[in-house]
Amino acid sequence: MLMKGNKIRGQLAALSIAAVVIIVGVPLWWRTTETYRAWLPVSQIKQLAKLQLQLSADVEVVFARGTVTPEQQKKVPLTQTQEEEHAVDGDTMLRYRFETRYRTATIMEEDALNKPTAAGADESLHTLSESPCGSLVFYVIPELSLLLPKDTDVYIGQRRTALLRVSSQVGVGRTLEQLLAQLEPRIKQVLQVMSFSHTDVSAVLSDRVRFNPDSKEGIADSMRAFKSSPGYEITFSLLNPDPTSHQLHWDIEGAVQTYIQPLLTKLSPVANFSIDSQTLYYSVLGVKPRFDSSCDAYTLNADSLAHVINPVEARLGSNAASSNPVLNFLLYVPDAHHSPLKIQDHRKQEVPSNAFHSPRWGGIMVYNVNGFYEPEAELPVDISINMAEVMGVFLAQLRLLLGVQSSPPPPGFLVAPRGSSGLADWELDRLMWSRCVENIATATTTITSLAQLLDQISNIVINDNIAEQVSSAVNSLQLAVAELEAGNLKYALQLSKEAILASEKAFFDPSLLHLLYFPDDQKFAIYIPLFLPMCVPILLSLIKMASEARQKRREKLAKKD
């Protein structure tokens, strides 16, 4: 009797231990070894991964007097929409939408168009009304108008206007539809120059669509301009290898304030800029120039220019405390023994600007000062550098490096010279379009790959701040895409900048480092010494109980028989 009671108590003890292990122990172990992962909006991120962008621009076409007949004038206030769709690859689709509004010119606009020169007309049209960011206004002027020179059909102004000359060869019996049909290809051509085009936008998406050998120039363009970044550092350096001969003075502060700052202020919606300058003495170019007797100067040919930059770069130093990209602009004044120094291009022709630039790095200009003093002058000579000339070259290089495309306009086009800021409004708009698309594409790629990474590696800890950054990036992205669709370029750019900042902050957070790679055999090696000593007695006692119960049942069956 006592033995049986003890046996039952023993069995109950074993069962209760097994119950405690399974019901309390296993969940406790699971909770204490899991990593904290905050919630991420994964479904929204997946939706964003299929990038579908729509770029909309408003175009206003104004008919001046003499281009439409009075009957046509009554029908003219009308709106047309042109849409174009391009599937760049499986995940990316771009849609371009131009909403064209046709109307006739007001009396004040007619007065403005009666100015003697196109530039004057442009100026007075601008005082009448300022077009919002991203939109364009085209004025159609009659063929016999004297505003444009003989062989130009289109004049592209400094702001967001263009003057188109329409040819009236069809005759008086022209319907409005025929007139519009005739204008359409011309308008399209102007839009390719002044507003976004498929080649520009797809060039910017080179991250997502890697191997797209459409045109050599397109690829060269995308390699030359800096990638979109919230800020840039610009450094102007004066290299004087020969201080014993030349005592150089340059008013860099004033020059930057007068010539460079207006451009940078205009570009402030795109990025922040910080400028500094330095002077380096006894720094040589590293390439020996050869004396060319045909032009009586020392020459650097185009092939050796590639080797000029490296020895100089080691001496340049950097003042940057941030991780922003640095643009270096160097002004090199050759020493007295190697003056004048001219740069030759591949065809051995002299280069008028005497300067060259390197993609994603900066530019170098060679400034010859041997003409400023007599050979018998007392050394060192005081030389004051003409900053207007120098800054003109640097400004052109700066424009190229920042991505302001300057492909030659089609024939028959006349582009107004840039204003005091060096950047036309429509060029700024183009830059804003491409930057906006680039930011959105980059932010989307970053967020998508971050979500993929966190999904794949299940034991990375996701803190709350990362989840917050990701959510805010996703929000900004959705808003940016919506604003872009609506055509509000400025807001779209701002939102895209916020999106890219948040996504980069989340992706590059120092806490996301995956150092926890455990191969399976290591996992077994860690857990077996902990759990085996505990599980073996439990399992054995359960097996013993089960075999005893089976034996009893067999005995019972045998007894029955």
Partner: protein, 398 residues
């Protein structure tokens, strides 16, 4: 050329001469065609605009002198061919030049009889000593550094950067040992490269590793545009080259010694390609069999120049236009500015904020169960059970 030679020796001598001439003329013609390339074509051939190098030596202690010499030789070549210090991340796990046991202080030699001092005059070490850890290495590669890290310690590459990564130290099948206390596995390295690719932090990557069983480290790569070289196959050891009796340790590893010899012949305008690099240190010289992996690389290795990775040849474009500026320079007003400047006086932040430290509350840490908790718990349960019910119940369990 050698191929032609061996093939045509079987034919008569005159025929051989004729064929050689034809081959030479064809070669010259091809060279001519290749020479007339415009700048857009130049852009195409490599697709990169800047170069970076990450050079890591992972072992410490005086007898691992050769690993530091390896890394410094590659550093020297890379600097000589043009990559500036701002684009090189050099990680040395120990200081050999100023080690107490170094009979020639401030030098690290790579050749016997002290022919070549690779320590030089302007070495810039970014991560030194105990800063060289697996964590820091992965942080540099992936860019996940704390915001206070200076520029010189960061890898600020973009999608048009070609990166050279050189690792040396002691390794095994699938791992590389850091600092004699931790290791990095080939899976972690492959994942780090994949994260770099996802963020487009490189255009092309050249990975060179000089350790024992080095080929195991590149087996797991799966990101595109990576070319890898290793000094030995799985199961083989990489051997060192030569001991120096004056210094008392081995100076270089064989693979890097012959690599340095090869690189000394390269100059910035050289046109040698990767196929020459694969031939460096054959089995007769190296004893181990160097390996390479090019299946992930998109371009043909024969068209990749050595200077695409080891040097920094910049692309250059002539500036064709300039903007015509006519405004005179504005005269800046100095008066109010200088007053403002004088009012602001700057001072250093308190280096050791004693009052803050004294009154600091201890940091809240997550609660973890004490060590050995589970073992102790179960021992306790078993003891209590047997105490209560007696030892005779042991037979119910076993």
């Amino acid at each position: 050329m050698g191929y032609f030679l061996s093939y045509y020796t079987y034919i008569s001598f005159g025929c051989w001469v004729q064929n050689m001439l034809a081959a030479i003329i064809m070669l010259i013609f091809i060279c001519f065609c290749v020479h007339f390339q415009n700048t857009a074509g130049q852009f195409f051939s490599s697709g990169h605009t800047n170069n970076w190098a990450v050079l890591v030596c992972t072992s410490r202690f005086w007898f691992n002198y050769r690993h530091v010499a390896n890394t410094l030789s590659v550093y020297r070549s890379v600097k000589r061919l043009g990559i500036p210090d701002s684009h090189i991340v050099l990680m040395l796990a120990d200081d050999m030049a100023c080690n107490h046991r170094n009979p020639k202080p401030a030098t690290v030699f790579s050749h016997r009889n002290m022919e070549l001092n690779v320590y030089g005059d302007d070495v810039e070490v970014d991560y030194r000593g105990y800063e060289v850890t697996v964590e820091n290495f992965l942080r540099v590669l992936t860019g996940r550094l704390p915001p206070s890290t200076p520029r010189s310690k960061r890898l600020l590459s973009d999608d048009r950067s070609n990166i050279l990564i050189y690792l040396t130290g002691h390794g095994g099948n699938g791992f590389l040992k850091f600092q004699d206390s931790e290791e990095i596995s080939n899976v972690e390295l492959a994942d780090a490269f994949e994260q770099m690719w996802q963020k487009r932090r490189y255009n092309e990557l050249l990975f060179i590793i000089d350790t024992c069983q080095g080929a195991s480290m590149y087996e797991r790569f799966y990101s595109p545009n990576i070319m890898a070289l290793a000094s030995s196959q799985v199961g083989e050891d990489s051997l060192s080259h030569q001991p120096d009796l004056a210094i008392g340790v081995h100076l270089m590893d064989r693979y890097t010694f012959y690599l340095l010899e090869f690189l000394e012949d390269i100059h910035p305008a050289s046109k040698s390609n990767m196929n020459d690099l694969f031939k460096v240190c054959p089995k007769s010289q190296c004893v181990s069999t160097p390996g390479h992996r090019t299946d992930l690389f998109l371009r043909d290795p024969g068209s990749v120049l050595i200077t695409d990775f080891f040097g920094s040849v910049r692309k250059v474009e002539i500036t064709m236009e300039a903007i015509h500026l006519t405004d005179p320079i504005l005269q800046l007003e100095d008066g109010p500015m200088s007053e403002e400047v004088q009012e602001k006086t700057y001072s250093y932040v308190d280096q050791l904020p004693v009052s803050e430290i004294i009154h600091q509350k201890p940091k809240q840490k997550d609660w973890h169960p004490p060590d050995g908790f589970i073992l102790g718990l179960w021992t306790l349960i078993l003891l209590v059970f047997f105490k209560t019910y007696g030892i005779k119940h042991l037979k119910h369990i076993f």
